[in-house]
Symmetry: T
Subunit: 143 residues, 12 copies
């Protein structure tokens, strides 16, 4: 079972920004640990700060891959085009957020992606990714 994690804008800074607070682990390092934990899944990773590249990637993988874990960062709340891309492809998309967006500014409470997603996981910190992968792993184990 092939699953891709797609991260959007500013998430490339994880582990590089304020390491005393957020830790010094980059997402790439965390990703290695996820691969170990979910060894039954074939995981790949993609990050871009560009809305259009995120759409391109979803198009590229979205008709063949078994699952997409998407943290679209700030584009979550502004990108109708990204929401349309999710609706257009066949692969199920799980929307994740590291922080509890509902405890932040009002403009982070609405997502243009959610209604087209197979599920939404919010606020568990980095564990949000692991829970999303658990979902795909559970589907896999049923196959």
């Amino acid at each position: 079972m092939n699953v891709i994690i797609i991260n959007g804008p500013n998430l490339n800074l994880l582990g590089k920004r304020e390491p005393t607070i957020y830790g010094s682990e980059t997402f790439e390092q965390y990703f290695e640990r996820l691969k170990l934990k979910f060894s039954a899944l074939n995981l790949t990773y993609f990050q871009s700060n560009k809305e259009g590249e995120l759409i391109d990637k979803i198009h590229e993988v979205g008709f063949s891959i078994d699952g997409i874990v998407l943290n679209a960062g700030g584009y979550t709340h502004t990108s109708i085009a990204l929401g349309d891309a999710i609706a257009a492809v066949k692969s199920p998309v799980v929307e994740v957020h590291i922080s509890n967006v509902h405890a932040r500014e009002d403009f982070r409470h609405h997502s243009y992606l959610s209604k087209n997603c197979a599920g939404i996981i919010v606020g568990f910190g980095m564990e949000s990714y692991a829970l999303a992968l658990s979902h795909f792993a559970a589907k896999h184990s049923k196959l």
Copy 2:
């Protein structure tokens, strides 16, 4: 590790309503399966259609239990009092929803609970509960 699942209004009808669509498994039967799957957790279950009883239950368990999985149904979107109860207790609360509330009516897009919760899981069907329990099981395995 003690974890309680609390279900709010109308969720007592699961398995009883439109069995040809939703299946004939009641939540109680599903709960038995959850107990088997998460045998490392000590699970209990509570359901009420009454906002005040849900608050009472959160007060009762919320200073000692290790985790609360809460599906507050329609009260999610209208109950400031329930949100205050979550904020008042010490136990972490994971908000879950069976359906994708963001794909339904506008009035289901806002939750008075979310900002006080340790995490939110939406739209995975009955699996939403299992994912929430996975979160507590993962915490447990780290202890």
Copy 3:
């Protein structure tokens, strides 16, 4: 044909409050007159000030009874959970209001119940109940 009248919050005060204005007839006394008028129907009556008890009652009767006449009082405008309960059961529900809610405060102009109801009757005073029962009586006479 079995039909239940369900009254919500504050409606227990009918006949007790300001009798020089509203008359001194309680709803229970009025209910006796309704039973005489609609003798072809088997009428029962339930009242509660508690949102959850109203939901419980709708669940209890809503899979077998032939009709529900519901005046949910102030919960009409605030209870998504009650609206969900109406949607969940099989029995047809007729929403009634004694006063013309559209001639009162703005917050009384919207109902979370209406879209799930078989019909809505507003503003005829106590006669609103009789008109709702007429609807069920007419269905009965066609059987």
Copy 4:
């Protein structure tokens, strides 16, 4: 007791549009049946697609007739002038709607007429008219 039924825009198409769905009975035919059922009332009927003609008719009959049953169709939600006409005349007006307007688009949830009406009946299909006439018949029988 004289009662008039006034129908607004597009209601002249009843029975002519999509007969396999709505049936092939025109309102005029249904009206004949209403006259038989409410033989104690002296019923007349008027229909126009023109807002101003509806106002004219309400003015014409509204100081002498015993009751008006009004389905103003789309003008319900946009016509302050029609609402003012109802307020200006002496005859009681019962607002009716065939469909459940609260289960349709948002712009159909508000009525400029309701606050000036003696009562509102919504969503019972063609029976909405019969229930409105029941109200006048009941008043008549008390005379």
Copy 5:
């Protein structure tokens, strides 16, 4: 100098409705008095309950007459088409209201006509018409 007074919906009822309150003088009778008072003006009068007829009349007179005094009643707040008609013609239009619309319901506080009018006079009772005519009479006396 030719000036027309155009009255919209429900204003035909002046003097006929609640004479003990509003007086028993019809607008036609009041108009006779206005003609006496403003003898230097050549006054005509038109009333219709139909939005389209009001537009037709404005088109008919609006390229030649010296002034229009318009009380559009309820259409004031809902008719973009009437506002467009005022903008389209050459004759100056003075908008008048008998009652103080700003002391009534919120939906009467906005006018689609005002921005295209030469002036607005509100709330002086029947005297509003006389003040509007004073404006044209003053223009006349300067010629």
Copy 6:
């Protein structure tokens, strides 16, 4: 193939109002040119300033004619009844606007008609009508 052009309020003033700006061609004259250009279509023309007459005309032709080109002027933004009429008939309706309504006041940005139309053409000046007819001509040539 029979197609009708229906024009709403104030459009009768085309060619008569400010000829130095808008030109001195009336819509009737322009219509003659359209008939020459679209000789394969059997064109007719109707104009009214009255909302109800526009509805009447749509009812009259809307079950038999092959196409309707509708410029409802100011009623576009206020008439639910007109939108309902379009939904009720069988003939496809193309909504047209001469000016770019999106570059004008906010209240001209919303149309009650659009969602029921077969297509919308906005802002091409008088050419908007020709483009709408092109649509019907293209359908015709496929027959």
Copy 7:
């Protein structure tokens, strides 16, 4: 009959600002002409840029004077306190505006004063004051 004209903020600049456009007549000079025209009235004049001084003046004269003509300028749209002052005194207040505030920014379309005023006159240029005085002169001539 004693009548005062009260002008609010920035109106002291009339005649001083852009004289080629607005003319070089100050309000004080215009006021002299008004006194000549309305010689039957005993006119006084007050201007202040200070909200509180306008309130003070209304208090000072508002229990004895026969009429107040008030152009509150920008305070019209923001001053609840000024609206309260008008409501508190006994003298009738006529609200005037030189420009057509409804043809200007949205925030000038609402007045906190209007609902407490005896009448409102808008958009006639400097003539707005004369029309307001005509109202008081007409009352005077009836005495």
Copy 8:
């Protein structure tokens, strides 16, 4: 003079939650001190987390008791039914809040209760209750 203090949801946690911050005094202990301070009043106390029980209690005491001090907690901002109960009974109700609700989230700035209350006291901490009782004690001392 009989006065009851009614506390709503989550207020049962006072003294039990975060004692290092809020102190370890429960409301019951504080209530004993209030009884000593207001010995001229006959005080009773009621608390419930259930909206319906609060309504029931107001009905029970509200036709005979001399005063009600009500802190409805989160229901303050969502319960039309509770506001209706206050309007329905005869006893004067003083609304109190411990915290300054206007310095908290926007959804705590509106109260459905206030307009029906004899007075509102907000933000004095526990002293809010004492001030409310002062009001009743002052009324008592005047008897």
Copy 9:
């Protein structure tokens, strides 16, 4: 303990306006009674209809006085500057209102002052001032 009562716009009319309704006691006379009742406090009084003078006074006393009782009248709902002044000074401010502002127009439901105040007292009539002083007296008695 020094405490000042500051009254804003229109409150100088108390006792002078409609004495048959509001009584003929001026605030100055009432203030004398307050001084007798709260003899342990050193009370002073200030009133102005001018927003800026109220700010000046708060600045003048707000770094040394022990308490401020402020009824800002209409400025309550519009003055950010006054709210800032309260935030800037050190003395605690208690906001009071004589009438129940929540039972009046919508624009009186929001206060720019409340969030910076030590407490808010609304709707007890003139007693609102006494309750505010009770608060300071209680603080004093604890010293």
Copy 10:
């Protein structure tokens, strides 16, 4: 005459997604047919999922090309920058949409592009492009 068709996000999926529904013709294939039909125009085609690339392309061609047909997909409703690009260039832009955006979600009813466009064509399916080209072809034939 040179004309370019520019397609925005997700439109590259045409013909590839759900071919049983949308057909298996890609836009590139459809574009070949358009070139045949509009042989008098020199047509080119560009597609990108990236907002910035769409702006770049508009800048590149927008000072020399004779016409731009733009379907900006989801960016239509969110991109002020794209609207600014249209305003900045000299070439006329015709906005097109395949589906009837007014019959879809509310957030698709507003376009940041429309007010800067030479015309808007909505909802004719793939024919929307052909109608836009007809506009440019008509301009061409007049040269």
Copy 11:
């Protein structure tokens, strides 16, 4: 070149309030330093807590002075009259704010002054004034 700095409400407290945080330099002292730094400009200073005095001052200097630096404090967000005063005078006005108003409450995000100003400088602390003076100094050096 003559330039005036005008400060609005509460800005007189600079240097006096919380000196350990804001420093103990008053604006008057800071102003002395500005005069040294911008010795090519002839600087004056004015402060008032009164909206009307700020308008008076702008009127007084605004037809002759070369530049106005205005920090209107809380009046920025509420005073249409102040915005009108800026529009009325000839001298260019630069709006400044010490704090980043966009990072504070929502009601500080809108300014009634900005659209009439020659420029806006926000959030640089006391340096905001220096930057505004730099603007005038740059203009001066070009003369």
Copy 12:
């Protein structure tokens, strides 16, 4: 001291578009003049029409450079992701706008960037950049 100027969408057209109005100086030419004027600063320049490239650049320089001057054009009002990037980096960002955005369309009045910026400069034309650099130069001269 290293400072970068980053320009967003459509700003590459400066000097190329409408040279008779905006002048024929490109930003690159203007930038050369800025380098001469601020010779104490080490200036670089970057422009892109792509939101993601702007974010990339901010990430690239934002942990080492001494200052960023950012004119994000249309993305200012729509890009949460860009606002997040500013918040994520360490270098201070000054937001600039050439035109007075507050005097343009409503959707240009809100910025997603401002609250995370060290300061905002709006409406001084090209001088806005120079003022922003003055800020960094002043910091530099203090070092």
